[in-house]
Symmetry: C2
Subunit: 199 residues, 2 copies
């Protein structure tokens, strides 16, 4: 399909930003990713399931979140176009996940299943580095977020979010951003008013 090929080029561009790949590697990589369209509010991972895929977002936006005993949702991660998302713990250990991954917009994704990724790792060693680097980037992002959480006020965290994810900031409902920042949406509303007055 014409569109399907274009989508896989996005994947290639993402992966080969750090590594150049041979034709054979490209062919194999592309053949192992399957495209899926997800409706708004559709789930690609549900608490209790085993996370069986590593997911790359072509378009749209997904969120990964946990639900506490009282039913509140806490957003752990957003993934929009050109980003990766997966519950690594469940994926590698093949054990039931404690989180949800849900589409916030109609989305198109590319997924690779665990056995196929392992096949890539063993037959094309370069992909070990590729995926190691993807995870390292996400690790640094998380570490930075932890630092924010323990050192910055809610207003500072929100300002940083606006700078770091300007596109997300204008696409997502503030309720979702509040959940990501660890504050209530009412308090975010107050922060936004305060910031507006500072101009």
């Amino acid at each position: 399909m014409h569109e399907g090929i274009k989508n896989k080029e996005l994947l290639l561009a993402n992966i080969s930003s750090a590594f150049s790949l041979t034709d054979k590697e490209i062919e194999e990589l592309i053949s192992l990713f399957a495209e899926r369209k997800i409706k708004r509010r559709g789930f690609i991972l549900h608490q209790g399931d085993v996370c069986r895929h590593f997911t790359f977002v072509i378009s749209g936006c997904l969120k990964m979140y946990a639900i506490d005993p009282s039913g509140k949702e806490f957003n752990l991660e957003f993934a929009a176009e050109n980003e990766w998302i997966s519950d690594l713990n469940s994926f590698y250990a093949e054990k039931p996940t404690t989180v949800y991954i849900e589409a916030m917009e109609p989305s198109v994704i590319l997924q690779i299943a665990r056995p196929d990724l392992i096949h890539l790792y063993s037959n094309y060693p370069k992909f070990n580095s590729t995926f190691r680097i993807i995870i390292e980037r996400k690790y640094m992002e998380l570490q930075n977020r932890v630092l924010q959480n323990i050192s910055a006020t809610a207003e500072e965290r929100y300002s940083n979010f606006l700078h770091q994810f300007p596109t997300l900031a204008s696409r997502l409902p503030n309720t979702q951003i509040a959940s990501y920042l660890g504050i209530t949406s009412e308090f975010l509303s107050k922060i936004r008013k305060d910031l507006a007055h500072k101009r």
Copy 2:
């Protein structure tokens, strides 16, 4: 040296918990790690330096922290015996770090330099998975910590810390634990009193 060999066995045990290694891999791995003793308050990484080593802790305990403009320290990570520590961002990008890594106790560590690790990656592909898994574990730990930070009260976070790191909890000054949890040491003191009364 007798003790040096024993220390490298700890490293081997840590790495081969997920993978079995050949004699050749073991020999090469061991030859590339160098042992260092660090005094209490000694630094192995200072803001502005490039992080040139991946570090495994044999004994003692290190902390990684950032300092904000007002001079306050925020603990990002502790690493005691049998744990890994490094500023991945500085290490892989070879750019100056924004953090410090300092020994809180007299410590013995094993370090591998970046070129040697890259040599391992290219000549013994298995080590790609090995180190990918080390990072994945740390990633999940961070993700769990973010969830705590955005969803739990300070008292809950402290209780969790006690359960998750019982050894650290009794070894570290509470000021250091407070900084890790993102609260003041005075407030931690109050939390400890409240918890004691709940018994």
